[in-house]
């Protein structure tokens, strides 16, 4: 099957979008962007200056008062227009993500869809932003709550869902009447840049949404800027903790969605075929580079026959996964996003071997459909006999690596999960309502799957997370986002 047409034909030189204008960075410093599958140069992203950050914040601050006075219905209508444009450019946006990140076209379309869903939910802002009231809170006295926007917010985004993740926040923030700045990942900024071209086309007023490309310096400048009222961050726990602390010191609102080590628990009564397909997509989808990816697979049974059959089926399925360029529709798993990320994952595989784990399937033996360079590619890896204290059983690998563990009972499995510091997602595969309920009831994780391998909340629910996977008190998406991006005022009235 032929590879789908690439939407990026020549090296794209990225600019910043500030105050409704596309402006070149004056920094003179750029990073080259490569397609991780073909290793071809596809773009150059500037590492913007602190002055450029300041210009963006100034533009957003200036735009705030007029935008917050724009009625919620009028604000929503801008998002209806944006939604139309996103649908029109659905395929192009998806293919750009495959080119900048490596994920398969199915995965990219899924990401685009999930992003658009957030825009759709945000169009409901006239209802979502309503306050509440109580007549006769005391005799002759009424009391009500109104929600108001706060000012300039920003998002510091990761590389793994370069298009979607800023949309967990920005549409809600802006629909609520705030103004916004996105700092996309400097490793995969192309789809975000295209999104901002569509934002421009949708006709949002100047300064309402701004894009500043760059690296750590830009992120730090945003965090330290006195006119930034709140920060949404998605990335590693180490950085997230630091941002959380910094925002606490400066009185900024903050939500940090961080690292994960997700467990898939398979009970002996699970429906085999569906479970295998779900486990495959959970662990190897997006080449394992998502914070909801399954990583540790716990098989709950003392029955060796069940264990042997399940691991054999998993091995067979993983061995057959077609690895290659995501724009080839027959490819099931793409490359890692960069050579560095591949190196990191290989490091974990080697660490696993040092720890004496059984390597059932070695993804370092790369087999690629279409003869692409192996620079960023790995095939699926499976480790057996992993224990929770081992590095590969404990830390986030962020690659296509499955670590198989065994537990005697569901209680044991839950204990193993709770011994891990992260609490992003966990899944149970079972036909038993009793076991499913116990799992849901007891497990200390923000996103729970019952026979669902990637427990990714839809846009109208919060993208949850607990323990070392989340710092803050309001998550992205849905009502949580409305809470995060507004301040509540209580008004008490009495008329004489």
């Amino acid at each position: 099957m032929a590879v789908l047409e690439e939407p990026i034909k020549e090296v794209k030189i990225l600019k910043n979008y500030i105050a409704g204008e596309w402006v070149e960075s004056k920094s003179g410093r750029v990073l080259d962007l490569f397609n991780p599958a073909t290793c071809k140069l596809i773009g150059r992203v500037p590492l913007s200056t602190l002055e450029e950050v300041d210009e963006a914040v100034k533009a957003a601050k200036e735009a705030f008062w007029e935008w917050r006075r724009t009625t919620p219905l009028a604000r929503a209508r801008y998002f209806f227009r944006l939604k139309e444009l996103l649908e029109e450019h659905f395929e192009e946006l998806s293919r750009i993500q495959t080119m900048e990140h490596g994920k398969t076209i199915d995965e990219s379309r899924g990401e685009t869809r999930r992003g658009i869903e957030n825009v759709e939910v945000a169009t409901g802002i006239p209802s979502l932003m309503m306050g509440y009231n109580l007549e006769d809170a005391a005799a002759g006295l009424d009391e009500y709550v109104i929600r108001q926007p706060i000012g300039v917010f920003c998002c510091i985004a990761p590389f793994n869902f370069p298009f979607m993740i800023p949309l967990w926040f920005m549409p809600y923030a802006v629909a609520c009447g705030n103004t916004y700045i996105v700092k996309p990942s400097e490793q995969a900024p192309l789809s975000q840049s295209r999104l901002f071209e569509l934002i421009d086309e949708a006709g949002f007023p100047d300064g309402v949404m701004n894009l500043v490309n760059g690296g750590k310096e830009v992120a730090t400048a945003l965090l330290e800027h006195p006119d930034i009222k709140g920060v949404s961050f998605v990335g590693s726990t180490g950085v997230g903790k630091n941002i959380y602390r910094k925002c606490g010191e400066t009185g900024k609102k903050v939500q940090c969605q961080c690292s994960a080590k997700n467990f898939l628990v398979v009970m002996s009564d699970a429906v085999l075929d569906s479970t295998i397909a779900s486990v495959m997509t959970s662990i190897y989808g997006n080449a394992g580079q998502r914070c909801l990816s399954g990583s540790n697979l716990i098989l709950v049974s003392e029955d060796d026959a069940f264990y042997d059959q399940f691991t054999q089926e998993v091995f067979d399925a993983a061995s057959k996964i077609r690895v290659g360029y995501g724009l080839d529709e027959t490819v099931q798993m793409g490359p890692l996003q960069s050579a560095d990320k591949k190196k990191r994952v290989v490091g974990y595989i080697e660490k696993g071997l040092e720890e004496g784990v059984k390597l059932r399937l070695d993804g370092r033996k790369v087999k690629i459909v279409g003869g692409y360079p192996d620079t960023c590619f790995l095939n699926p890896t499976i480790f057996e006999d992993v224990t929770p204290d081992m590095m590969i059983g404990r830390e986030e690998i962020f690659g296509p690596v499955m670590s198989i563990m065994r537990a005697k009972s569901l209680d044991d499995a839950i204990e193993i999960i709770h011994s891990n510091p992260y609490g992003n997602a966990s899944t149970i595969y079972t036909s038993s309502g009793k076991w499913a309920r116990q799992f849901q009831y007891e497990i200390q994780c923000g996103n729970i799957g019952i026979n669902v391998g990637i427990a990714a909340p839809m846009a109208f629910f919060p993208f949850s997370g607990m323990k070392d996977s989340f710092f803050g008190d309001r998550h992205g998406q849905g009502r949580d986002a409305i809470e995060f991006f507004t301040e509540r005022k209580v008004v008490i009235t009495r008329w004489f």
Binding site: M1, F90, T104, I105, D106, E107, R109, G110, E111, R113, R114, F161, M164, S274, A277, S278, M280, T281, Y284, G285, N286, R290, L292, A317, K320, I321, R322, E329, T330, V331, Q332, M333, V452, G453, I454, A455, A456
Partner: protein, 159 residues
């Protein structure tokens, strides 16, 4: 028009499956349009035109459903084992010597082929959100009805 399929490519992702289905409908649409243009088969003209319009409608419906339900959280890349393009090939090439009953025979094969594909795709896409398998099921039912219409035109059956 030449035959569709024939390759041994396995359809192993949602994208490949939907793209292949789309090509089947596209081929059928062109086939019926060609029949409608040919005066020799004039008595079936209205039916052929209606079928061609419906092929387009079905294709758009399935594509829309796929786009609207595809998400990163479902098994789009790992659930489609067992579907093979080569199992769904029909030769729709028309030759000068073909009579009305010959082309109706080909049309019946075209309908049966897409119906069979939709049934198989429905079975293999059940781990996706329900919309896509339901769309395939809906199309399969309609293809069965179209087969009956063609049989009527052939005089093989009566109402």
């Amino acid at each position: 028009m030449s035959s569709q399929g024939g390759s041994k490519l396995e359809l192993n992702t949602a994208s490949a499956t939907v793209a292949f289905y789309s090509r089947l409908e596209d081929q059928a649409e062109k086939f019926y349009e060609e029949l409608a243009r040919n005066e020799k088969y004039g008595k079936g003209r209205e039916t052929f035109l209606a079928f061609a319009r419906e092929n387009k409608k079905h294709r758009e419906m399935v594509l829309r459903v796929y786009r609207e339900v595809v998400t990163d959280a479902i098994e789009t890349c790992y659930s489609f084992t067992g579907l093979n393009e080569s199992d769904y090939g029909v030769d729709t090439e028309l030759t000068e010597d073909m009579g009305y009953s010959d082309i109706l025979g080909i049309a019946l094969k075209v309908e049966e082929n897409i119906r069979k594909f939709c049934i198989d795709a429905n079975e293999r896409s059940r781990s996706l959100l329900a919309d896509l398998p339901q769309a395939f099921e809906k199309v399969a039912k309609r293809k069965a009805s179209r087969k009956l219409i063609l049989e009527l035109l052939l005089g093989r059956t009566t109402i």
